[in-house]
Subunit: 661 residues, 2 copies
């Protein structure tokens, strides 16, 4: 058996490569504990975050550890006043966006409007210390707000039992934070990766549609409105009370919406004037409030916010509901909204880091976002993350570090301390316009069209998420999208492609005959490539499919009168792994082919596969000499057998001949 | 760009192959409908069952269609009397096993014992017409019986409300049949493949343990017993009433169990005497009944079956419960037991078909098993499938066709008509011994040890299923096993391996340096192989991992003083598919590497990947000339660039130089 360096007699003439015959190697056995450790490391620490801790003194290790969780310790000492100017401008800009958006989204979540302001004060401060993104602007988001109102509202009515509802919202936020931080600490950040880009495009567009539909209540000045979020219920609710529509409210809303959309369009055309669209919401709020104040429109069907309590965030840690029949819904809401908020925050952080060429550690970000929600929930804040719109404004305004978040927090603090009375007359319809204009930007037709062009399955995922959110509910849409995405992965594994390979003219290269029509088949030899790991989920399929390829090849040979089929070469290059079902499958195929007088030959099995085949005794039963390093060598060996000795594969003559070489 | 046949200047010297430079081909665009049709066909009709219908006259097509669903029409006309002798012997043998087993399992399911006999009469007749296995012997199975009693018993007490319980059992059987047949008709048979071999080994062993534990009630002659199936509850229940144990019952049970085990051991050693173990249960029943009849032990704590109704199956179609608060539990029970029964039936059918060299169509078998359960549920039968033990006896007894099932059915029919009074004095403890001895055969230590040796993950699946069944419940065990199996698939996709390739000495072959320690690296070029399809679930990971490889390589170069890294070659042979997230990943990696002055080169992307990369405009942005057919050609091209012109990858000089060749 020691012929690993033996020059194969016919390889030089057949393959033209004059190559040595290499034996497909079985990797040396590793102790179980070591291989387990390796694979755990690859699974949970692919970025090797402990690399910088190696060979450092203990004091330095402590500092590095603190810096890992509090990046401010790293960049803080290097912060210069020159950066402050940029951060000041961007911080004030995002504050002017944060105040009206915060109030609007809190209304969307059926929470007291002041909570929107509270949530823009504490969480940004925490994030500034713990976050590693320089561009993320912290705040509440529309989709999570809608989800909170939909999920909690289904169990506790915010109108009839506002205190319990409020406390459940804090509890959900707390659990969202716990869940987010644990994902990061347990290095399970990859769970967020299962929300694919296509899922997020469809989901966001669907959520934006639903949020816009909800605003019809505000725009039309309706007092009764359905609690459901799906298109059919909302439209039925709106059109069943046409006589309740208030034109004053509608006209005001459309005017402000038009103003917001025009400024957004303008800023999009001329990015230098980003501040026009950033300031537009605050301008609308001021104009709307003035208008109502002057015309006393609140007495003519235009609803206003009413009184906002002055003062900073009250402590709410005692409000967390830890024993209650409603605890489970709070946990469920927390987990779902937590994942969605996390996906948005991480994606936004990554996109801007890509622009500015720095790196974001997903797991570290999760800990930061999780902590900010846990702390926030103890100080009357509800779920926050890094919303795309606010972060984009922050980026455009030229922020340099997370100090812009601190500036925003201070601006919001000043508002809370001194300016809340000014919002008394702010009409709700203006808030609705602000939400609609923000939401329209989330519907990304172009991305959907791109998905359709490039990958139909991704498009299906996207449309599934959209339709699920719009016609059923936000959670169902999410479940549909994740299910379709997972189904795709499972289908890929359950139905791997098997390809017939042919020889490219004048080379030793064997490639798929469909992709390379000039690849020619080798008489008497069928070469198949298996394009996926061989697992329980596909071993039955592969057995049937390979046998069908052999059947079809034999039919073809019968029809064309070529020389009979003698060898089936399986190219295993793309088989990343195999399990016990896969090994049984090979044994079965070998039996079936043996009976039909065909010999099975393997080419280029990887390390993992060789190890398993060896342990499963398949190599022993096949014969190590029937496993080659490349398809070319396997074909050369088969050709040698075909032409030098009368093949009689039912006995083991050939194998013996080979062994005696 | 038309240099696809251009001989690369340095390839002859570098690679030694003198090969032509082939352009990695983008497959010609296919109309969407056609490619959808193709992939649907591959997914649902991998065995191409309609092939034989092609180019046939209409009458023949009808006949073939009928033969597809009723294989009896195919083999029936060819049936000869010579076969009947074998079928008669095997049929009578399995009947002698079916009668005591049927009664025992019906007791296990908390159903009237006579149902076990009914279920061995109608379903085998249906299967004989529709099934394609020659060796499957139809009957009830212990695991499904246990599941029925556990799941239905949790909702309706069989002691307090026996009629409703019975009707729900029929209903569950009906839905199991509907589900099984629909899986077959919808070509979804691959769902059964998701129960891997490892899952089934663990699950069966767990179920066998649980069933044996349940028999302690019969063996010890206890009257009160827990309804739970888990180890802890059962042992607590048994040992909390030590004073209730009946020694008469215990002694009798142990004697019969010993007798059964000895005969089984003997038959296993000498397969010719298979009939000894096959007849042992019936012998035990006869001996036990005689003993009780003679000693009147039923008055001394040995429970007996009591009266069995004479006569054939009563019609039960009107007993199906279609509107009831319990309908949902019936459907749930039906689906779960249906899947488990199907998995056992299909696996058994396939194993014996493999022995005798004929083929079983999984989807067709599902329709047959489903129909036999649907019809059975209308005639007082409960869930049946092809149990392993009975089929093995059938096979050993030399059955030739499904006629042996007909013979068994006739023997059971005669029993039902004339012999039921004989079972009046059969002691329950004998039935318990029969069940225990059958169950001990299902605990397959060897298979578990084999799994541990070959594949640790499969072993984990197996142990998970076992522990789940034994310590929690049958359903939980199943869910655990399927979840671990799926997790493995997802982990494979989420954490694909990336391998560094090196050049094998004196060849143009590039292989994993870990598997082939003599493979040498090429100065200035890092060659990576990606070992899985690139999907949303792994694109973030791959981006980080590839960058980390580059970092590590640069660190190594810095330490060793080799020539600087210039090219990163990605071997895409094993990348079966890519989605839009994957394409974005490539764009990001290209940006990152561009910034660091490194050039990314692709080798051997498959048809599907080339198509997607082309549609996603990545080929355009990378340049088609940076995609090679083999790693050798990519390395040769990089080497040519490295040695002929001063590399300056930040501008596109090289690309232009290349294009102008």
């Amino acid at each position: 058996m020691g012929n690993s360096d033996y020059v194969y007699p016919s390889a030089a003439t057949e393959g033209g490569g004059g190559e040595c015959l290499h034996r497909a190697a079985i990797p040396p056995p590793q102790p179980f504990v070591k291989s387990l450790k390796n694979s755990l490391k690859e699974t949970f620490f692919p970025d090797d975050p402990l690399r910088q801790f190696k060979n450092q003194p203990a004091a330095r290790k402590v500092l590095l550890g603190l810096q890992y969780f509090f990046p401010v310790l790293e960049w803080g000492p290097r912060y210069r006043l020159a950066l402050l100017k940029s951060d000041l401008i961007s911080g004030i800009t995002i504050a002017s966006l944060a105040i009206p958006q915060g109030i609007s989204y809190a209304k969307l979540a059926n929470l007291p409007p002041i909570l929107g302001l509270y949530s823009s004060f504490i969480p940004p401060l925490i994030y500034a210390m713990m976050g590693s993104s320089k561009d993320l602007a912290v705040g509440t988001v529309a989709v999570a707000s809608l989800l909170i109102s939909a999920m909690l509202g289904a169990e506790v009515s915010p109108a009839q039992n506002p205190t319990l509802y409020l406390h459940l919202a804090f509890t959900a936020t707390f659990f969202a934070g716990v869940f987010q931080a644990s994902l990061g600490l347990l290095r399970l950040g990859f769970i967020v990766d299962f929300l694919s880009h296509a899922t997020i495009v469809g989901f966001m567009a669907g959520a934006a549609t639903v949020v816009c539909l909800q605003q019809l209540k505000g725009i039309l000045g309706l007092t009764h409105f359905t609690h459901a979020t799906d298109l059919v219920s909302v439209l039925r609710s709106v059109f069943s009370q046409v006589d309740q529509w208030r034109w004053e409210s509608g006209v005001l809303g459309c005017c402000f919406l038009f103003f917001l959309l025009v400024t957004r369009y303008f800023s999009k055309k001329k990015p230098k004037f980003f501040w026009i669209s950033a300031m537009a919401p605050l301008t609308s709020v001021i104009l709307g409030s003035l208008l109502v104040f002057l015309t006393h429109a609140e007495k003519h069907g235009v609803e206003v916010i009413g009184e906002l309590k002055k003062g900073l965030n009250p402590v709410s840690i005692t409000d967390l509901v830890m024993v209650s029949p409603h605890l489970s819904i709070a946990i469920k809401t927390g987990i779902i909204t937590g994942v969605i908020a996390l996906a948005e925050g991480i994606a936004v952080g990554r996109s801007f880091a890509m622009f500015k060429h720095y790196n974001i550690d997903g797991n570290k970000e999760m800990v930061a976002i999780g902590t900010m929600n846990m702390v926030g929930s103890c100080f009357s804040c509800y779920l926050t993350t890094g919303p795309f719109s606010r972060s984009a404004v922050n980026f455009n305004a030229g922020c340099k570090t997370a100090v812009s978040n601190v500036v925003m927090a201070i601006a919001v603090m000043l508002t809370l301390l001194f300016l809340t009375p000014l919002f008394h007359y702010t009409p709700l319809v203006v808030l609705s316009s602000i939400i609609i204009s923000a939401m329209l930007g989330l519907i990304d037709y172009d991305a959907a069209i791109h998905l359709w062009k490039v990958d139909k399955f991704d498009f299906l995922v996207c449309i599934g998420a959209y339709a699920g959110v719009v016609f059923a509910s936000v959670e169902i849409g999410l479940v549909i999208a994740v299910a379709i995405s997972l189904l795709r992965l499972l289908l890929f594994v359950a139905r791997p492609r098997t390809l017939v390979l042919g020889n490219l003219p004048n080379s030793t290269v064997y490639r798929n005959v469909e992709q390379y029509p000039n690849a020619g088949n080798v008489p008497g030899i069928l070469i198949l490539e298996i394009d996926a790991p061989i697992y329980f989920a596909n071993s039955s399929y592969l057995r049937e499919r390979i046998i069908r390829w052999v059947d079809e090849e034999e039919d073809r040979i019968k029809a064309s009168g070529d020389s009979t089929l003698q060898y089936v070469v399986l190219d295993m290059s793309a088989v990343g792994n195999i399990d016990t079902s896969g090994i049984s499958m090979f044994e079965e195929i070998k039996k079936i082919l043996d009976r039909r007088g065909l010999k099975i030959v393997l080419a280029n099995p990887g390390a993992e596969v060789m190890k398993k085949l060896d342990k499963g005794k398949f190599i022993e039963s096949l014969g190590h000499e029937w496993i080659y390093l490349t398809v070319a060598e396997a074909v050369a060996a088969c050709n040698y057998m075909l032409h030098s000795c009368k093949p009689n594969p039912e006995t083991d003559e050939k194998t013996e001949a080979w062994n005696s070489v």
